[in-house]
Amino acid sequence: MYSKMLSLRFPKTIVNEPVTVNLVKKFDLSFNILKATIYPRKEGLMVLELSGHRKNFQRGIRYLKGLGVKVESIGQDIRRDEDKCFQCGACTAVCPTGALYIERPEMAVIFDREKCSACELCVSACLARAMEVRFNKSLLY
């Protein structure tokens, strides 16, 4: 399962195309729209979370770009919900940068945000789902 927050900018020629429907039908992706606006000059902006198989995701993005949609991934930030995290260490299996590591001998699981590359691998590997993706909300308002 792969999931990313994207901003899509539509040229006015395709504002009326059912692109999201096609993403679902042709590429088996699911989405959650956080914002959709059509600006006075008929350009469209949509902020959505797109999820599915990584391969389908990439094919879906190619399809969008082929239509002339400008696709950008939204600046993301990973945080740990300290109340939810129960300090097991399961996440350290997947963290490629060492941002999640175990301090010994206490066995405390540390999250060093400085080292985090926001790859999101820990988000679904965390048993407690304590690792959260925050995205730059400024686009929504």
């Binding site: 399962m1 599915g52 260490g89 350290t92 299996a93 175990i102 010994r104 001998p105 679904s124 590997a125």
Partner: protein, 395 residues
């Protein structure tokens, strides 16, 4: 004159607890005491050793009674926040199992599945005081004509709610490694290919059953820490196998003893009963369990003094062997090695990953210690001990 063999009873300990004179140490403190002073002296000085473990324990669940409705219903199918509960018991009784996923969960259709919400999460949310959507359907009877109810319930609304876990606190578990060429998603966590990491799940020297390897102090009626409240051992858990292979020190080197436990959900704390999502595997529940070990004699003092470097487990390949049902040991490692961060496997350093929280386990052992010291927790004599190893009986 020969020194008399030292013994102590649970009644004597309880008297000391009431008098505020009890000596309680955590299992990791006991390791040092036994190393320094030997089991003879340690037994005389220490009354109780507290243990703890906090890890996903799939064989968990809760019996709930949601009270009679007007008109009355004989619930035959029940969902709590869309998670099916077992309703094949009396009219408004259900059992919600920890690993049951929400009915609309995509499961592993997009592999590895996320398993975001399941029975374990329902139990956590109840304890956290959240409102749960309850839906029940029925075929209708003369005495219980109602066919469907939908309501929101909180734990406080439920007339009865008991955590009843058929298998918790496994005494030892495999160290999982993946010798296949692709990443796999298991109940032992994410395992990278070509022995990329080695996962384990126990609190080692703090773990309840490692401190009493032959179950000399535990059985039906033993009072314990369960989910932040007082609970009880009510017998051996499913798959309890006292005759598992053991090392010379008596400690099993493979999965062995287990506990069936129960406790009142209404007294529990959400910090110690947490819903778990295992990528590609399923939902579960992380449960906090702590058992007080009464030091009744020197033998028990010796066992509670056993440390991580004396506790071993088998390395098992979950890539090929385990799924085929042919789990064979690829070697033994000690918990001291596993806790160090890397183990040596096949000439390489492999990084180790715990699924069991040592930090939380220690916190449990300390809380239990405090409860006993403050006189809030008395030890309870087991009415029937857990079955022990046949090799121990003939010893």
């Amino acid at each position: 004159m020969a020194q008399k063999k030292f013994t102590r009873t649970i009644n004597e300990i309880n008297r000391k607890i009431k008098d505020g004179k009890v000596v309680v140490v955590t299992a990791d403190e006991m390791v040092d005491i036994v190393k320094k002073k030997g089991p003879k002296k340690a037994a005389r000085e220490v009354d109780v050793v507290t243990t703890g473990t906090f890890a996903p324990m799939c064989s968990s669940g809760a019996f709930l009674n949601f009270g009679h409705t007007k008109p009355a219903i004989k619930a035959s199918r029940v969902w709590l926040n869309s998670v099916p509960a077992y309703a094949g018991v009396a009219a408004v009784d259900v059992y919600i199992g920890a690993t049951e996923p929400a009915e609309d969960d995509p499961l592993n259709r997009v592999h590895p599945g996320q398993f975001k919400y399941g029975g374990g999460h329902v139990i956590h949310d109840l304890i956290a005081g959240k409102r749960i959507n309850l839906v029940a359907t029925s075929y209708g009877t003369d005495c219980y004509p109602n066919r469907e109810i939908k309501k929101k319930v909180t734990l406080a609304d439920l007339p009865y709610a008991v955590l009843l876990n058929p298998r918790n606190a496994y005494q030892n578990y495999n160290c999982a490694i993946n010798l296949s060429k692709k990443t796999i998603y298991t109940y032992m966590g994410v395992l990278k290919p070509n022995a990329g990491n080695a996962n384990y799940s126990t609190s080692g020297q703090l773990s309840p059953l490692f401190n009493d390897p032959y179950y000399l102090t535990m059985g039906l009626g033993t009072r314990i820490f369960l989910g932040g409240a007082k609970g009880y051992i009510i017998g051996p858990g499913t798959q309890h196998n006292p005759n598992a292979k053991r090392g010379k020190n008596g400690i099993p080197i493979e999965p062995a003893g287990t506990l069936m436990v129960k406790g009142d959900l209404k007294e529990m704390d959400p910090r110690w009963v947490a819903g778990v999502s295992m990528l590609g595997y399923g939902c579960s529940l992380a449960v906090g369990v702590g058992v007080p070990i009464p030091i009744l004699n020197e033998e028990i003092a010796l066992y509670t003094g056993i440390s991580d470097d004396e506790i071993f487990t088998r390395i098992i390949d979950y890539g090929k062997d385990y799924p085929k049902g042919k789990a064979s040991s690829l070697g033994l490692v000690s918990y001291a090695e596993l806790k160090s961060g890397t183990i040596r496997f096949d000439g390489h350093d492999v990084s180790t990953v715990p699924l069991s929280s040592y930090v939380r386990a220690l916190e449990i052992a300390r809380i239990l210690k405090r409860w006993i010291e403050k006189g809030k927790f008395l030890l309870a004599e087991a009415q029937e001990m857990l079955p022990t190893a046949s090799s121990y009986i003939t010893k």
